[in-house]
Symmetry: C3
Subunit: 425 residues, 3 copies
């Protein structure tokens, strides 16, 4: 108990790699470490060949890390990291037993946290509370689309461990949270009930696209990230527009103000709000819950992600013009938040990897700036000629930047091995 | 003879897997079954490793199926399925013998049918008749571009079996049929003779792009489908526009009518016309010939494709607005037609694969709706600001949806093995 | 000495494969040929498996070619081909020794030449002189961005041989030359100093994107070409626009003149200027230096590239309309120049490969014509509705066409083996 507390604190002051510390209580569980280490690596279903190759290089580090997690006293094993105790307990039950309700809840909660790379049901619960605090419809949407996605995945014979870890439904979670939040902005009217139907269809699409993209990209050992969400949500929004919704009268465009001074307090607030904007929720309480949730899963991930959000927001100040309302709202930080987090999650955190995480956050923000007019232009001819209310870029910038950077990070040789067990810390 | 007729009827009432039925006459030809089973799998040139892997898992099923085909009495072997007797007879002749004329005709006809996954010269002949019935220029274009493509493929050292099966020219067939049909709609003028030259250049491009894309995508065990056609035809249309064609005066845009009632008889007619729209021909007789042609090749394929067209048309009703003229013309069904067909062609038809075929038809139609304004927007700045006559989406929606779905279907494990011998039934 | 001179002259009259000529002086160096043959093949970091496979098929040819290069008398070994003597001499020094200055200069110069596939410091020096002659800012930009890129690559642990061959910085060279040349055209104002900062950030991006794309595409045995430059420069230009630059008053658009006659002298000048336009410099002296530089590296490459530029320019006459100012400026030739060069560089030059190089030059020019309006449309809603000053297509057409053609060329079997040692001649 004390040992693990001390270790957690040690992590906060960024003393990697803590996993090489001796963990005296670990011996009696060491026999479990290797299999579980492999089992938790299903974010992308690595090909057998690659995996075993990574194992031979990573065994020592991975063994130590997994050992440390396994040696957490039982209470912690249910709560922090990727909650191995909860996972293993649930894996013993079949999907046909009555315990399926608990399994589905666990999968839904893990899926909510997986959006920001957290694989922990408690993290998911905290974020779900945050969603309901920020925007009730977003919370409901997340639940509805998650259940749709899990059902689809089971019907299409997805593997149990992928479903249990929430990989089948984290894209659907985003469909459920982003659509109710973004719809009124794009279509300038309240969301009609029929759009809930479109959301469920989009959730089914995410499962199929995730299966397809995941398979194509695993050949290159790269995860599909939230690309399926981006593809499904863009398609759905354009379809909804084509179906005749959103012909309401345009709100008067706000007058572009004169060059104003930057309010640094508001900029700081923007970096914080960015965490919530990953789920398209703009609420300080929600953002704090998100950061707390990530901290439970992995303190390093939470710290790097927040630094990424800060970098993204500062870059946003450079590559946009006044008025800076969008920056104060956190809209320029969420791509950096995810971009930095993805690098630190999938790679062993070394100094040059952290540098790449920073470059990735800046690159994602540049792409955000560059793609915004492109996405806005797409929908202009449809409704009217006001580019301000075109399609948003969603998390396309994060996905495109991170796919390239992860590939680059993996290409740079032995010092930057891919993490075989992306777990606590 | 009777046995095979009974089997065909059994297929129509959808009793898979009929291929496990005993075929008593098959024993004396069983020695041929395995090689031909491998030989017919050249739609994508599967890598050796993958292929042998599939073989070991598929041998039983594949052996049975091939055995059944081989046991067809000789007349049927020349006509139905992938016409193995005709293929084997022609494969014995070199490309330098006088019989080359017959080989080229066989390849042209198979290429015409390959557009909808049919590999049968009789199917191709029926569809070619349909093309001439619907639109004379489309038929001539198909022949001209096919010959150009076959010549190019031979000059660039394509493998004989790929050329013989029509894989080198089915994209060129589409260039030949779609350009004459779509040109007057996009450019609002009769097609000038110079465009036939552009069509031949585009046909050369399709061969090269097919070679390149096919090689890239076979690494992921996914076919290139009609992507080469889509790339070549989009490029060519934009080039033709840049070369100064189509500056005729704009036709008056039809007034968007009030919310009209849906005419279900016309919707049914639309599902039927969709089959012809794969080749951009709008004619009921042509569509019937297409369905008959597919039925000869594979009753299951014809049925699933038609159900896909129906699903696409119904989805089109949801994601578009009145007036529904495009739906009655079958323009919303052809992507669904191809999308459903591609899944049923490349995968062993099981219940959840048929479900994926249905999802794919709906997804392709969603993409059709989403990409239409994007493609229309591209060409707007060129001529004038009337989005109605921009570039059409061709079969991009089908290609994008099907590539993802095929990958997803393959990812979902043993119950959905890729068909090793995509042939009759 | 005489032997090599004769051989060079023999090459000019296009007598491939000269590498099979006997080289009597080669015996005492033959022991070096195989390793160096592998070492020079790092343009794309071929996977071990594929490479050894190629070796077994290519050994004879490659051995002869490398033998011939190794047997060049010492002076020539420092100057022509890929300058093996200079490379080997420098490879002996560590990056931490004082000789690092020479190594960096060598890498910068090779990077400048690598843009057109030349791997020779003298070629780079000639082209750099050409850049300064044509446009001083382009020369300075090339140096600044190169140094940034090499520094980034070393920090991110790139392999020494890739950095030494200039693969880390040739994309950055283009950032440095193209931005100062294109900025005034797109933004209609002189380039403000702050844009130099954006150029350095873009140079950092190119290194990361090169690492990532290179790794993804090497799985298919295809080089990333200048795609990283294209991605980085498009992103940066759009960001600069979003940051509020370029709001100067629009120059009056030149009146589209009546159908003028083609001035064939000017067309010839355009084919020559195309060579300089690869680096966005429009100057006859610069173009001549470029061609001379490529001739030093490989006479075949210089010849094929120039023929590609001519084909591209002629195709440009067909797919564009009067006035033909852009053709006379060489803007329609540089994609053909690179497209033809890439095929002849990466593949063993046989007759059907040269045919593919020609098709590739035409295809790239078609794509140039097709993508121009698409790129122009992207930036229209931002500033004003004058499509003439939108984003240029950079070398996207060359990259897209060549990736597909290289894949196609590799798919067409044994007669078109990939060159294992792309060097002199």
């Amino acid at each position: 108990m004390l040992v693990s507390l001390v270790l957690i604190l040690a992590e906060v002051v960024v003393e990697w790699p803590a996993c090489s510390l001796p963990s005296p209580a670990g011996t009696h569980l060491a026999v479990l470490s290797l299999p579980s280490c492999g089992a938790s690596n299903n974010y992308i279903n690595t090909q057998r060949g690659t995996k075993s190759q990574l194992h031979t290089r990573n065994d020592q580090r991975c063994g130590d890390m997994a050992e440390f997690i396994q040696t957490l006293p039982s209470v912690w094993g249910w709560l922090v990291g990727d909650a191995p105790a909860a996972r293993d307990a649930l894996a013993r039950f079949s999907w046909k037993s009555p315990i399926v309700v608990v399994k589905v809840i666990d999968s839904v909660l893990r899926g909510i946290a997986q959006v920001a790379f957290g694989n922990n049901p408690l993290s998911g619960l905290l974020i779900l509370i945050g969603l309901f605090v920020g925007h009730v419809n977003s919370g409901l949407g997340a639940l509805l689309c998650s259940l749709t996605a899990i059902f689809t995945a089971k019907v299409l014979y997805w593997q149990d461990d992928a479903v249990a870890a929430g990989h089948s439904n984290f894209n659907a979670v985003l469909i459920g949270t982003v659509t109710p939040a973004v719809y009124p902005i794009v279509f300038r009217e309240a969301m009609p009930p029929a759009v809930w139907g479109y959301m469920m269809i989009a959730a089914v699409f995410t499962v199929c696209v995730m299966g397809g993209l995941g398979r194509i990209m695993e050949g290159h050992n790269i995860p599909a990230l939230t690309l399926p969400f981006n593809i499904a949500v863009s398609t759905t929004f354009l379809c909804v527009k084509m179906a005749g919704y959103g012909t309401g009268t345009a709100a008067p465009t706000p007058d572009p103000g004169a060059q104003e001074d930057i309010d640094w307090g508001q900029v700081f607030r923007g970096t914080l709000l960015a965490a919530g904007h990953v789920w398209a929720v703009e609420d300080v309480a929600c953002s704090c819950l998100v950061l707390l949730a990530l901290f439970i899963f992995s303190p390093i991930l939470a710290l790097v992600s927040y630094v990424g959000a800060t970098l993204g927001t500062l870059t946003g100040l450079v590559v946009s013009t006044a008025p800076y309302a969008a920056i104060y709202q956190g809209l320029w930080g969420y791509n950096g938040f995810l971009a930095a987090g993805s690098i630190s999650f999938f790679m062993v955190p070394k100094l040059h990897i952290l540098l790449m995480a920073a470059i990735n956050a800046v690159f994602a923000t540049f792409l955000h700036s560059a793609l915004s007019p492109v996405f806005a232009a797409v929908s202009v001819p449809l409704v009217d000629h006001d580019a301000a209310n075109g399609l948003p870029v969603f998390t396309f910038p994060f996905c495109l930047a991170s796919v390239l950077m992860l590939a680059a990070a993996m290409a740079s040789g032995p010092p930057s091995l891919r993490v075989s067990s992306p777990a606590f810390p």
